[in-house]
Amino acid sequence: MPNAEPSPPNDMTEQDEDFALRSLAEAHAADRRYKASKEELLHFYEQMLLIRRFEEKAGQLYGLGLIGGFCHLYIGQEAVAVGLQSALKGGLDSVITGYRDHGHMLAYGIDPKVIMAELTGRHSGISKGKGGSMHMFSVEHRFYGGHGIVGAQVPLGSGLAFAHKYREDGGVCLAYFGDGAANQGQVYESFNMASLWKLPIIFVIENNQYAMGTAVQRSSAETHFYRRGTAFRIPGMQVDGMDVLEVRKAAEIAIEHVRGGNGPVLMELNTYRYRGHSMSDPAKYRTREEVQGVREKRDPIEHAKTELMEMGVSEASLKEIDKRVRTAVGQAADFAESSPEPEASELYTDVLVETY
């Protein structure tokens, strides 16, 4: 019998047909994982492994004093960038993130050498050594940084989405930010305008459980971040950020919605960073057991590896990938160490584009 069950009085969504608050989450629940071919999963595996080995090497170079300042490693979160960015249209869709940006660059297939050389502050770095770990860009790939002020990338990403819509080029923007940034006021200013103007943007909260050293429970009144768009009529999705195929599937659902002109989507990717917030973080706010537990039970790379072996990929061919990745990272480190520092004259270039 229709209408037998009256909606709960405070559930407005039942009476608001235009508002697809839960439809995306429901679509994702019905079909959680992307059905990757062996080749696709191998490719994801290699990308994730590259990020991990690259970041481990960066940690070593930091310890040797070759990398200075702040250096935020992406270890543990690899499946997020790889899964999401694999679903984008290359050369059209844009991506922006915060300062933990090495992984997002690598997920684009950008040469690890110019990324590592940026970390060591060398002329051949992707920003000529002037940006450093937190400020890397590849306009060619439509990767717009690399931003050091927590949360700033969210309105900037909304601006990129605005440009897509203005040009009517069919592109979408993926704006990553963390559970810490999710408490910044400008994030909600952006939610409001993005939803109001139906901007083609996916807000991606990489919830790695800690805003620097503050656990989400100690900083956030609503720890289910995917719900935080509700007040702005932005549908939310909660995704296991440790499973690259689940991430990929969720990305497809979100992108289809956004590219269809339906306005923004908010995705919460539950993930975990194994290392400290930055290299100088002693990580006293959590136990070794907690970190070890995630490593053993939820590691995205081990997960993919197991799945590949179930698909019939041999141990030997996985070892071959591992070797290839180690070689690439080793070469990147050598390049980054041996490249010259920027010319002194570079100090004064690129301040302004024009001469007045």
Partner: protein, 488 residues
């Protein structure tokens, strides 16, 4: 007993307006809240409501009258029980009242007619209460910033160019409209820029011509929309982000500095950010400390930004067009008190001026006054007074605060050997401080006297009219400083 209805001040800067339309006629009964008339101000057309009930006795100023001074009696109401005719007596008082001293107007302040202007209209003036008696030469600080002396025609304008009279407001609007016609990527966003036609009418008419895709009303969310504008520039568009005033841009300063100014450098020249942030800057009339500040020195201290602060209509137009075309992020500082001033504007197909070049707005041989924005008018007035006393002052309008035209300052110093900086803004770490440093570093041998600066007092801008007057720069202070460096 008749009650006078006077021309209301509907904005902090309104001195006169047009009585566009009467919506009542003599003998009509009105009650509180009825619309009596439509009044066109320098910013908008506003409805003027009755506060009390009564009968319209006599209409003193017919509709269509332009230039009706604030405080002029425009109608007389017959009070309760009065006959309409009985109220016709005090007719002539209005116009006669015009030259009345401030105190008189103030004494009459508790007028019966308190325009219950729509709150929105008040907000358009940044939340400021309507100032009473703006015509009365009330002794406020901003009246002393007025100026009748016009700058000399800029050397960049070809000789023989036809000139027309235009306000700075019109010049800015025309600059945006021309650039929007020229380049599809240019759009304007900000609070009340579209349907409201601009809080200060600067974007008037743009929505009609370019539509809501390119003229975009934002929510009141400066941090957010400054970020969106900056991101859109990174994504290849040419945004003009209007701040209702630069005081509100403090909410957004992170994006202006950290996102817009630094990106090109941090990316090794890969990622440009051709955005224009514009809006009124500096002290307005009686709006208190939070709405009255000159941010020129703040932005001018940041590498990666271009900072422009024009004075007259020609510079406003020519430099705004250049700013929109620039590949760099530009902070474009306007001045509310100057919006309504009329100047000569060249009639050219494409009037674009060079960024980073100062301009001699008055030639002189005895002393140099370096200034910018509203300080130009004050300095020109001072130069006139000084000329009467035999001192010929050269007045340099910096126009661009970053990059600063050091050469123009030093060339004038070489000629006059004496220099004063006049700046409507705080004295500490000011543009004046910078000019003095430049003179010390690069012009020391040309100096016959220490450089002096005339700035606002080093206090938050007060509300009280007398204190505001004391806080802001004025002509006598500039004159005094010039005489001092001339040892006169």
């Amino acid at each position: 007993m008749g009650v006078e209805i006077k021309m209301p001040a509907l904005s902090p800067t309104m001195e006169e307006g047009k009585l566009a339309k009467w919506l009542v006629k003599e003998g009509d009964e009105v009650s509180s809240g009825d619309i009596l008339a439509e009044i066109e101000t320098d910013k908008a057309t506003m409805e003027f409501e009755a506060v009390d009930e009564g009968t319209v006795g006599k209409i003193m100023v017919p509709e269509g009258t332009e230039g009706v001074k604030v405080g002029t009696v425009i109608a007389v109401m017959a009070g309760e029980g009065d006959e309409a005719e009985a109220a016709s007596a005090p007719a002539a008082e209005g116009p006669d009242e015009q030259p009345a001293p401030a105190a008189k107007t103030k004494d009459k302040a508790p007028k019966v007619e308190k325009p219950e202007q729509q709150l929105k209209a008040d907000e358009s003036d940044a939340g400021a209460p309507a100032e009473k008696g703006g015509d009365s030469k009330l002794e406020t600080g901003t009246t002393q910033l007025a100026s009748e002396v016009k700058p000399a025609t800029s050397a960049e304008i070809p000789h023989g160019t036809n000139m027309k009279s235009a306000t700075v407001r019109e010049a800015l609007r025309d600059a945006m409209a021309e650039e929007m016609r020229r380049d599809e990527r240019v759009f304007v966003m900000g609070e009340e820029v579209a349907e409201y036609q601009g809080a200060y009418k600067v974007t008037q008419g743009l929505l009609d011509e370019f539509g809501p895709k390119r003229v975009i009303d934002t929510p009141i969310t400066e941090y957010g929309f400054a970020g969106i504008g900056t991101g859109a520039a990174m994504g290849g568009l040419r945004p003009i982000v209007e701040f209702m005033t630069f005081n509100f841009a403090m909410q957004a300063i992170d994006h202006i500095i950290n996102s817009a100014a630094k990106t090109n450098y941090m990316s090794g020249g890969q990622m440009r950010c051709p955005v224009v942030f514009r809006g009124p800057n500096g002290a307005a009339a009686r709006v208190g400390a939070q709405h009255s500040q000159n941010y020129g020195p703040w932005y001018a201290s940041v590498p990666g930004l271009v900072v422009i602060a024009p004075y007259d209509a020609s510079d406003a137009k020519g430099l705004l067009k250049a700013a929109i075309r620039s590949e760099d992020p530009v902070v474009f500082l306007e001045n509310e008190l100057v919006y309504g001033r009329s100047f000569e504007l060249p009639e050219m197909d494409d009037h674009v001026l060079p960024i980073g070049k100062a301009r001699v707005v008055r030639e002189g041989k005895d002393v140099t006054i370096v200034t910018y924005s509203i300080g130009v008018g004050v300095s020109l007035e001072a130069a006139e007074q000084l000329a009467a006393e035999g001192i010929e002052a050269e007045v340099i309008d910096l126009r661009t605060l970053r990059p600063l035209d050091k050469e123009a300052v030093l060339a004038s110093l070489k000629k006059t050997n004496r220099l004063v900086v006049a700046e409507e803004g705080f004295p500490v770490c000011s543009i004046a401080s910078e000019i003095i440093a430049i003179c010390m570093e690069d012009g020391f041998d040309d100096l016959d006297a220490p450089v002096l600066r005339v700035n606002n007092e080093d206090v938050p801008l007060p509300y009280a009219a007398n204190l505001e007057k004391a806080a802001l720069i004025d002509v006598p202070r500039v004159v005094e400083a010039v005489k001092k460096v001339c040892y006169r």
